[in-house]
């Protein structure tokens, strides 16, 4: 089962620069939540605070709470490593490990905990994950080739396979389809639909059709002006968001009249 995330009064800083201000959002378990909004409004930034990836940037820090199933991720006694295991992430740009084969890339996360994993278990897992990412047929004959030998779209699907292979509770995706063609995109969307039975999904997307297709809830982020902090403007279930938004900015943005 997936887990819910509650963000309370979150401010996010890069050094002294307040990038995102006072975010409050409740992300339901086993649902797909989409983040939309104009470029630079802080979608990626907020997403990365949900598994403490944010902390990897020197000087970046967070005020407020992020509760994963009621437990604050930012409590002193919480280990960011286990947070990131439970909350998987797929990035905007494909990033397979360049020295590893396709197979090893998929297994990379699992190997961290299970040094000795039987060959057949590994084979099954690799096949499962690659099928899920709609990549199996393209690569099944060259699983031992390096992962970076693939085209951009294939690489991204490999990264998705890698992320789901560790079977996280929440999966965060930062524009996972921006480098994919429509067919791969559809396959990933199918995968997301399938995954939400078991996991909570948060996805950043620029493609509003995509948000409309797959998300149960949609969060619209905005920023007042360049240089100002971004903020969560409007949060609603997807049907409301796209059909009958109760927020003027959101409506303008969705209808493409924005800016």
């Amino acid at each position: 089962m997936g887990q819910r995330i509650d963000v309370n009064h979150e401010n996010i800083y890069y050094g002294d620069f307040l990038a995102v201000e006072d975010v409050n959002i409740n992300i339901e378990a086993n649902k797909v939540t989409a983040f939309i909004g104009p470029s630079g409004c802080g979608k990626s930034t907020v997403l990365r605070t949900l598994d403490r990836m944010h902390e990897l940037i020197p000087g970046a820090h967070v005020e407020g709470e992020v509760l994963l199933e009621g437990k604050n991720l930012y409590d002193k006694d919480v280990d960011p490593v286990s947070v990131r295991r439970d909350v998987g992430m797929v990035f905007q740009r494909p990033n397979p490990f360049p020295t590893m084969s396709i197979r090893e890339n998929v297994l990379a996360g699992v190997r961290l905990n299970n040094k000795h994993i039987s060959k057949s278990d590994a084979d099954d897992l690799v096949e499962w994950a690659l099928r899920g990412a709609n990549l199996w047929n393209e690569v099944k004959d060259r699983l031992d080739n390096p992962g970076i030998g693939l085209s951009g779209g294939q690489q991204q699907r490999l990264c998705i396979a890698r992320a789901v292979a560790v079977h996280p509770q929440v999966v965060l995706m930062d524009e996972p389809c921006s480098a994919l063609d429509p067919i791969s995109t559809l396959a990933v969307e199918d995968l997301i639909n399938e995954l939400k039975d078991d996991y909570t999904i948060v996805i950043v997307t620029h493609n509003m059709q995509q948000a409309a297709r797959i998300a149960d809830y949609t969060a619209f982020f905005n920023l007042k002006a360049v240089g100002q902090p971004g903020h969560l403007e409007y949060f609603a279930d997807t049907t409301t968001m796209f059909n009958n938004p109760q927020n003027e900015e959101a409506e303008r943005y969705i209808s493409g009249r924005f800016g």
Partner: protein
């Protein structure tokens, strides 16, 4: 999904012990890494400390502004000092400067050839391999090479500063090539493509984008290369020689460099003070001069480093041409 195997994910869940183990290992490795640092610091601090403590005794203005002419035994000179390193500082700067002028342009262009033009062809593989081999040339062999070259071309017994520069440039060259090569390789291909796509010639792409982007790395690589050779002793003993007075002509006459000076003073070990000598006669003066010169050498290196860094900074500032 059709045909996908069913996976029992519980099998892969982390167990408490595996988590414990991983965490432990992480701590352990962090500890080792910090320890590595501490271990390395012991000799490093000791070297610096010894040099500074011993060097400070005799390091004064007099030491920096006089050479070794007219210095006899442990007696003070008329100027009140005990000889100095002016000639060695001048020699070091000139000889190293000569080596830089030879090897940095060649080294950078060779790296440009390897990274930008050769695309891993046969010749490039050979050149690259030979650069690695060259970096293994023992400094003493470089000295013998320069010595023989000059004695063949300019007659037997030729000894001058430039000969030392040639020996040093042989040692610098591979370091310069290797570090420039690494730095050029790191420049993302995207940038070359972006520039070429603007219809910029390859030469301008290389000089204005690639080299420019890699510049801080190249500068620091060249500094390391200079640092590598500025302290060479063995090859200079045979090529540049040793002289007590100041020689500013790189192309004629012997030249003393700081490392050679340090070594010569160390070899003297102590100076004689005759029975009738005054209290001003210092028998341990050669060793003291050796340490003081060693300290000067380190300071010279430090200053060069600073200059290098400043240059890197100035170049990093955007210029509106």
């Amino acid at each position: 999904m059709d045909g996908a195997p069913v996976i029992d994910f519980d099998k892969f869940r982390p167990t408490r012990s595996s988590e414990q183990y991983r965490k432990g290992k992480d701590y352990f490795m962090s500890g080792l890494i910090a320890l590595a640092f501490v271990i390395a610091c012991i000799p490093l601090v000791s070297v610096l400390w010894t040099t500074i403590v011993n060097g400070f005794k005799r390091l004064n203005l007099n030491f920096l502004t006089y050479n070794m002419t007219g210095v006899v035994g442990g007696n003070p000179t008329p100027s009140g000092g005990y000889g100095g390193v002016l000639h060695a500082i001048i020699g070091t700067l000139e000889i190293t400067g000569g080596a830089m002028l030879i090897s940095i342009p060649i080294g950078i262009m060779c790296a440009v050839y390897l990274v930008e033009y050769a695309h891993g062809g046969k010749l490039a593989m050979t050149v690259s391999l030979l650069v690695d081999v060259m970096s293994g040339i023992p400094s003493i062999v470089a000295g013998l090479f320069a010595f023989s070259m000059f004695t063949i071309v300019f007659g037997p017994g030729t000894i001058n500063g430039f000969e030392g520069s040639v020996a040093l440039s042989l040692l610098m060259l591979p370091t310069v090539v290797k570090s420039c090569e690494e730095m050029l390789k790191i420049v993302p291909n995207d940038l070359r493509e972006a520039s070429l796509a603007l219809g910029v010639t390859k030469q301008r792409t290389i000089t204005k984008i690639v080299l420019r982007t890699a510049l801080p790395g190249i500068v620091s690589g060249c500094i390391l290369a200079i640092a590598r050779v500025i302290g060479e002793t063995a090859p200079l003993l045979m090529t540049a020689g040793y002289i007590a007075s100041t020689n500013v002509n790189l192309f004629a006459g012997q030249m003393t460099t700081l490392p050679v000076y340090v070594y010569q003073e160390y070899s003297k070990l102590s100076a004689n003070c005759p029975a009738n000598a005054t209290a001003a006669c210092v028998p341990t003066i050669p060793m003291e001069r050796a340490w003081a010169a060693a300290l000067v050498l380190i300071v010279v290196v430090l200053v060069l480093n600073l200059i290098g860094r400043l240059v890197a900074k100035i170049f990093a500032v955007k210029t509106e041409r």
